[in-house]
């Protein structure tokens, strides 16, 4: 076969020499290599001016272009995805919060393994789904970069192995010579921890465990010991008390078990068409507390008179029921006491008298009153004691004496900070430093831990296993929701205190299995619901709570020992109390409480519900006492006078702020401030406030939070106070609508009258006249209703909103400039002595009337709270004025904010009648002036909710009605192919409300709870609806169970006369 020749083209066929030559060349054309390399300029000339400029231009441009690029934050996917984690989907774990003061059963929301939000656990029989501001904020305390990352020996980081060895050697040596070992802790309600401590004591028999609470209830327990032979604190049932009398007990915000009390209290405070009865709440107190602000009748009394009020109330009741009376001294409020006594006697067994004092004598007589009223077994449950406050003041003072006498060889402090909290007279730090071996479990080098030889940092509660027994029948579990933040290999890591103790005892078990064993042996046996332990354990862990069966079915019998109580002696001691010109009552604030979370910026920025002041504590004084001496801070003045407060020779300088309703001749100061070693916050902002724990004293063996003789002198200096609300009265406006129960019963619409307008077709409701088209009613339309009768103003929702929506912390200076970022605020108004009716009666002109209205009633104002967030107006003034349509209306009735589109003209905020819009004046996430903002801390950033964008400088923001939750709820419904269930979607504020004051749901669904509520409840109203803005958020009129409304103001005048 002949080989066929194929050719590519005619050139190849012809195959002339030219072609051959070309085919051999690598390049078709000559490359001018020679020419290029031969250029002599290359060798001799170097870079000429033009080239230089070209290169310069290029490199500058290239460099600046490269610099323009935004830094890239890499999101690294899971290499091996944990089975239970789906990125973008939250996991919820039941757990428990207990810090020695507050207890709540909680649910922890985690995203990609990070806890980001705390919510109340509705399965708990104690907290019933409620939470408070401190618990809401506790998730941020987890990501606190002030925590220490490993054990320290004398202030230097060490290794757990070394620390354990040294401590074991030391403890062994002490035990050998019979030296005393002490464990000092706050109240421990963990049965397993107590069991470990018991084992510890067994190993080191010279050990004693002392519980000490910074804010102590020891007096109550001791009084109960005298009355009933049991040193316990009972459970209180405010939901069964139709008449509540509180003597200086802030039971809605701080006292004993405030979440539980608020939940119970709110049940009898709600009125509706079905139920038009309300409990009646009397409050005798010196400071205006949150509870006092919610009382139907509040009677300001001097601190020295509080005991006498109790005695006189006892006598009034005793007289009526024929019992022996006690010696008493007359009081100006005796007529009111008589009235209170009468009402209490009418509601025997359905009433409750509580007292916030830690004085045994006070509590004894209160016990006597409740005894006479037959409240034990009904509203007070001795058979189900509340274990959350077991601190023993006398044991603590004994310990200090022992330490001072150098009789203690080792002390272990756990969850307590006595160097900061102990009364100055005890000189705790001096005694403490006499102990040779000081071990602390503190998670940071706090005031007490800084004295310690060894700090063995405990886990944060969200990293820990634990169990709690808050009341006799209720148990709950805490489980870790994140691996310890500080762990090997980067850090030595923190270690659960119980594990440390187990190590030192030589028990090889870890705390988790220890709890399990302990529950198997004790708790499991107490219940009958489950027969298999694993089932019981798994369910308890899943639910977070467990209940054991009560052994004694009834507790009414537990009132033995009544006869043995020496009331006469107690009354005599009370009558001997002498007052003075100024008396001091120390109190806790809703945010900071006893001060253990003082390093939490969310709590520091939470306004006090009453004064609305952030980032500070101060002296509260009656404006009547301040007049002529100190700045009255009227007319939106932020300047306050500084005063020197002297107690027992200790002087502190603090601002004094006018507090309407503060009993004359008394002052109040909040505890929990002035922490020097709380963490980095105090270094970033300066020490926040002043520590007044040194003012506490030991009286009659219990801690006293009152001082009967305090000297106050003008320091002749001024300072600025960071209040979020600096005008305090309603100015006669119907922003808050209210009525009284009697009127409400007759006419449910009382106090809720709409603005009417004359039209050609007669009188019409102003809100019904409209220039605009109604929005189409398609699909869902969200609405919110807030019951002003239920809202107690506690601020839990404010912190919850902050956590849910990544709201920035702006600090004291910015709050002073009215630039706080809270999407949700609680407005607090005081009543004024002037009203339109009074002005009409006195024939006062408008100008002087309004001038008078600016001042709240100094002596005893009525108080009202009103949560305000974006009202999501359907005809929103903000939407029409935005030039770039950055704020618009959603088809679901929400007013939406498009941050990306916002240019920041701020016109929307000006035109908002509610002033709910918040502007990012600075870059709060990068500007070093705001270093305390959690977003500026590598750890703090972990608390951010990934579903909500962090807003940049120059954009407007505001309440979105938790649109991310709405979206999640809708998607869930879609995935499960079922219609959205009413109540499935809860906004953050609604969920955290301990009194269920907030309702949220679909307005297009006629059967939704909110639709029904709006239809059926005549109290429903919209703020400023006469503007035609058609808000989506509505309010329910406040109903007071008292004789006059604010508008009439007569009662106020009467009390004034009495006081004068």
């Amino acid at each position: 076969m002949a080989t066929k020749k194929y050719w590519k083209g005619l050139e190849e066929l012809n195959n002339n020499p030219e072609f051959v030559q070309k085919a051999n060349d690598e390049f078709a054309e000559q490359i001018p290599v020679e020419e290029f390399l031969g250029d002599s300029n290359l060798v001799t000339g170097g870079t000429n001016r033009r080239d230089f400029l070209k290169f310069l231009g290029f490199s500058v441009t290239a460099a600046s272009l490269a610099a323009c690029e935004t830094p890239v934050n890499k999101a690294i996917p899971y290499v091996v995805k944990p089975e239970e984690i789906t990125p973008g989907v939250a996991n919820w774990y039941a757990s428990s919060y207990y810090d020695g003061n507050d207890y709540a059963s909680i649910l922890v929301k985690t995203r990609e393994g990070r806890p980001i939000k705390i919510e109340g656990n509705e399965l708990s029989k104690i907290t019933m789904g409620g939470s408070n501001a401190r618990i809401q904020a506790s998730v941020l305390s987890l990501y606190d970069s002030s925590r220490i990352t490993g054990p320290t020996i004398n202030g230097k980081y060490s290794k757990w192995k070394t620390v354990d060895e040294e401590i074991n050697t030391n403890l062994g040596a002490i035990a050998q010579k019979g030296g005393a070992i002490r464990i000092l802790s706050s109240t421990i309600i963990s049965p397993s921890t107590l069991a470990i401590i018991k084992e510890f004591i067994a190993k080191y028999p010279t050990t004693k465990h002392i519980m000490y609470d910074a804010v102590s209830y020891s007096g109550m327990a001791k009084a109960n010991a005298q009355s009933f032979g049991q040193e316990i604190i009972p459970s209180y049932y405010f939901d069964k008390a139709e008449v509540i009398v509180s003597i200086d007990s802030d039971f809605l915000a701080n006292w004993l078990s405030p979440i539980e009390h608020a939940k119970q209290y709110s049940l009898l405070r709600k009125v509706s068409n079905q139920r038009s009865e309300m409990s009646k709440h009397y409050q005798f107190e010196s400071n205006l507390s949150l509870t006092g602000a919610n009382a139907d009748e509040r009677i300001p009394v001097k601190v020295s008179e509080q005991g006498k009020v109790i005695v006189n109330l006892y006598n009034a009741i005793a007289k009526a029921s024929g019992s022996a009376t006690l010696t008493s001294s007359p009081l100006s409020c005796d007529s009111i006491i008589q009235k209170v006594a009468k009402e209490l006697l009418e509601k025997k067994g359905k009433s409750l008298v509580v007292c916030g004092s830690n004085d045994i004598n006070y509590q004894l007589i209160v016990n006597g009153i409740n005894q006479m009223l037959g409240n034990y077994g009904k509203t007070i449950d001795i058979a189900n004691p509340n274990y959350t406050h077991q601190g023993n003041d006398s044991a603590f003072t004994d310990l200090v004496a022992e330490m001072d006498a150098a009789k203690v060889d080792a002390i272990i402090t756990y969850n307590t900070n006595p160097v900061y909290t102990a009364p100055a007279t005890l000189k705790f730090d001096k005694a403490f430093s006499k102990v040779p071996l000081r071990i602390s479990f503190a998670d940071r080098v706090d005031e007490t831990a800084s004295f310690a030889n060894y700090i063995c940092p405990d886990h944060h509660y969200l990293e820990s296993w634990n169990d709690f027994n808050p009341t006799k029948t209720q148990y709950s579990l805490a489980q870790p929701t994140i691996s310890p933040l500080f762990a090997k290999p980067t850090y030595q890591g923190s270690r659960q205190a119980q594990d440390s103790l187990l190590k030192w005892i030589g028990n090889p078990s870890d705390y988790h299995s220890y709890i399990q064993n302990n529950w198997m042996n004790s708790v499991f046996a107490g219940q009958t619901k489950y027969t298999v332990f694993t089932e019981f354990w798994n369910n308890s862990l899943h639910d977070g709570v467990a209940e054991i069966n009560t052994t004694s079915s009834s507790n009414s019998g537990a009132v033995a020992g009544q006869g043995t109580t020496n009331f006469a002696d107690a009354a005599q001691k009370i009558n001997a109390i002498k007052g003075s010109e100024f008396e001091l009552s120390l109190y806790e604030k809703v945010g900071i409480g006893n001060g253990n979370q003082a390093n939490n910026p969310w709590l520091q920025e939470l306004p006090d519900p009453i004064t609305k002041i952030t980032w500070d504590n101060y002296v509260t004084m009656s404006p009547a006492d301040m007049k002529g001496h100190y700045k009255l801070m009227a007319r939106q003045d932020r300047e306050a006078s500084l005063v020197n407060v002297t107690v027992n020779g200790i002087t502190v300088k603090m601002p004094v702020v006018p507090q309407p309703g503060q009993a004359r001749g008394t002052v109040g100061i909040a505890l929990g401030y002035g922490r020097i070693k709380a963490g980095k916050l105090s270094t970033q902002t300066g020490v926040i406030g002043t520590n007044v724990y040194p003012f506490t004293q030991i009286i009659n063996g219990t801690l006293s939070y009152t001082v009967l003789d305090v000297k106050i002198e003008d320091a002749k200096e001024h300072t600025e106070i960071a209040g979020t609300q600096i005008h305090h009265t309603l100015m006669g406006r119907e922003i808050v609508k209210e009525t009284i129960l009697e009127k409400y019963k007759k006419d449910p619409t009382s106090g809720n009258h709409s603005e009417m307008v004359h039209t050609n077709s007669g009188l019409k409701k102003a809100a019904t006249i409209d220039l605009w088209d109604e929005h189409e009613k398609l699909g869902l339309r969200w609405g919110m209703t807030i019951d002003l009768n239920s809202c107690i103003g506690c601020g839990s929702c404010v912190v919850s909103c902050t956590a849910e929506n990544n709201v920035a912390v702006v600090g004291k200076q910015e709050v002073i400039k009215t630039r706080e970022m809270h999407w949700l605020r609680i407005d607090r108004y005081y009543s004024s002595d002037m009203s339109k009716d009074i002005a009409a009666e006195k024939k006062e002109g408008a100008i002087s009337m309004y001038l008078d209205m600016e001042n709240p009633s100094a002596l005893n104002p009525k108080v009202v709270f009103q949560p305000i967030m974006c009202q999501h107006c359907n005809h929103a003034p903000c939407e029409t004025v935005c030039p770039v349509i950055a704020t618009s209306h959603s088809s679901e009735g929400l007013n939406m904010m498009t941050y990306n589109r916002c240019v920041g003209t701020k016109y929307c905020a000006n035109n908002c009648p509610f002033k709910v819009r918040r502007f990012n004046w600075f870059n709060y996430n990068g500007n070093s002036d705001f270093a305390f903002n959690p977003t500026q801390d590598d750890l703090g950033r972990m608390v951010l909710n990934p579903d909500v964008v962090v807003r940049s400088r120059g954009v407007m923001e505001k309440c979105s009605m938790c649109v991310q939750r709405i979206q999640e709820g809708k998607l869930d419904a879609k995935k499960s192919e079922k219609p959205l269930v009413d109540g499935r979607i809860k906004t953050a504020c609604q969920q955290s409300c301990p009194t269920n004051a907030i309702f949220f749901g679909d307005l297009n669904d006629d059967n939704s709870a909110i639709s029904k509520l709006r239809k059926d409840d005549e109290r429903n109203y919209f703020i400023l609806e006469e503007l035609g803005i058609k808000p989506t958020v509505s309010y329910l009129t406040k109903v007071r169970n008292c004789e006059t409304t604010i508008e009439e103001g007569k009662e106020i005048e009467e009390t004034e006369k009495v006081k004068a």
Partner: protein, 462 residues
């Protein structure tokens, strides 16, 4: 040609010839700057630089550097914006409205009044551009085609109207001003000896030859531009006032705002013209051109517009009472008796009471008194805008949100800076631009005709 009554004082004193006018007007340009000029220029430029520093700081950290807050979202920024825009109005009114009304006395003052307009609008623009949170995105306020999706501007928003109103106003004013300058630049070009100056003025005069055709076109264009600018005098400040009038806030939501703002703008603008001219005639010896008569005429405008403003204030008070709306009534009680009562009192005294003193001929022809009054009126008008904005926003519907506003050093710095910038530009203008529209001014010169008349009179006597 225009007939003038014998009893009227001539508009140009000193029996000037055409050549003398030319000499008088180019003297500041061709001659050396005076000591006064250098003094004023130094002060102005220092203020200007401080303003630039404060602005840079603001752009660096955010408008949190100002005293504005979450209740008072507009404060000095918008106060200053409205104030400057208002000042600008006198220039347009003088050159356009008075042109249409054939008021020849405007010829001596229109050039500098127009320059004032341009510079004042530039100052205003600084505030309106930089009061936003993210000024680098300000261009989003224009209806630009974009790649962001279906994003468009909101034609319901008065701020969008503002953007159109102010940008139109600025461009028309600039063109109008420049048109008038062309023949004068040509005159300077023809006299210039230094090559650089000659080249610059040649460029600026755009080949002006002074032919009859040029003059004809010049006149036509001026008339058309005057016609365009006249509605702008009324529209710009009406629209600016709608920023407030269309809002729901008591104290802002008022239909009286547009006319009242326009009157106020002219009022403050004339006061500013007085301030500038009284200084200028002194420094450049222009007493023969800017005469007492001019000053008096302007003072009469000030009385009239001041009185309109006063009536508007009283009408506002009456309407707030008559409305029967609680919030509306309180807004005005608050202005007068609230924490900012002093600002209201200042506004009332400066704007309503003090201009009434001009009813006295002696006072309105007194140069010193006029100068003081011109400053007082502008202080008053600044406070008017402050009173409308800040005390209103400090106390709106919910008393819980009531607060106070305190300016920071940056607020003060930027405001001082714009005043510095305004005077820097104006002083440069007086050195390089003819401050009086000499070409037009020469149309009312009667020196030669009067010379002839006088000569004739003389002859008959003999």
């Amino acid at each position: 040609m225009q007939h003038e009554s014998e009893i009227r004082v001539p508009l140009i004193l000193g029996n000037k010839s055409y050549h003398q006018i030319t000499e008088d007007i180019v003297r500041p340009i061709e001659g050396k700057a005076t000591k006064y000029w250098y003094m004023l220029f130094t002060i102005s430029i220092i203020c200007f630089c401080w303003g630039i520093a404060c602005l840079s700081y603001t752009i660096g950290v955010g408008i949190g550097a100002w005293g504005n807050n979450n209740g008072v979202d507009w404060a000095w920024d918008i106060t200053n914006f409205v104030w400057w825009i208002g000042i600008g109005h006198a220039g347009t009114l003088i050159s356009a409205v008075l042109l249409l009304f054939r008021q020849k006395w405007r010829l001596a003052i229109n050039r500098s009044a127009e320059a004032m307009t341009i510079f004042a609008v530039m100052c205003a623009a600084i505030f309106v551009l930089l009061h936003t949170g993210r000024p680098w995105l300000d261009y989003w306020l224009f209806p630009l085609p974009n790649t962001f999706g279906s994003l468009w501007i909101n034609f319901n928003s008065p701020l969008v109207w503002d953007v159109f109103a102010v940008s139109t106003y600025f461009s028309v004013s600039l063109v109008f001003w420049y048109t008038g300058l062309v023949p004068d630049f040509a005159m300077i070009r023809d006299r210039a000896v230094k090559p650089f100056a000659k080249k610059m003025y040649s460029l600026l005069s755009m080949g002006w030859g002074g032919s009859a055709r040029h003059w004809s076109r010049f006149e036509e264009l001026s008339l058309v531009l005057a016609g365009l600018a006249t509605p702008l005098v009324f529209s710009v400040h009406s629209i600016v006032s709608m920023d407030f009038a269309t809002a729901v806030l008591p104290g802002w939501h008022a239909t009286i705002f547009p006319p009242y703002f326009v009157a106020g703008a002219v009022f403050s603008g004339f006061a500013m013209v007085q301030t500038l001219l009284l200084m200028m005639r002194k420094i450049y010896n222009l007493e023969n051109y800017i005469t007492k008569k001019h000053i008096e005429y302007m003072n009469i405008v000030i009385i009239i517009t001041g009185s309109i403003v006063g009536v508007a204030y009283l009408t506002e008070l009456f309407i707030s009472w008559y409305s029967g709306v609680e919030y509306e009534q309180y807004a005005f009680i608050n202005r007068a008796t609230g924490p900012y009562w002093w600002a209201y009192a200042c506004m009332m005294t400066c704007n309503v009471v003090s201009p009434q003193l001009f009813w006295s001929k002696k006072l309105r022809t007194s140069l010193t008194f006029t100068f003081i009054m011109s400053i007082i009126v502008n202080i008053g008008m600044w406070f008017e805008r402050f009173v409308i904005i800040v005390p209103t926003l400090c106390r709106t519907y919910l008393p819980s949100t009531w607060n106070m506003y305190h300016p920071t050093f940056v607020d003060i710095g930027i405001f001082t800076g714009t005043i510095g910038m305004f005077f820097t530009f104006f002083l440069l203008f007086t050195r390089y631009f003819p401050v009086i529209a000499q070409a037009e001014l020469k149309t009312i010169v009667k020196s030669s005709s009067e010379g002839y008349r006088n000569k004739a009179k003389h002859n008959t006597h003999h």
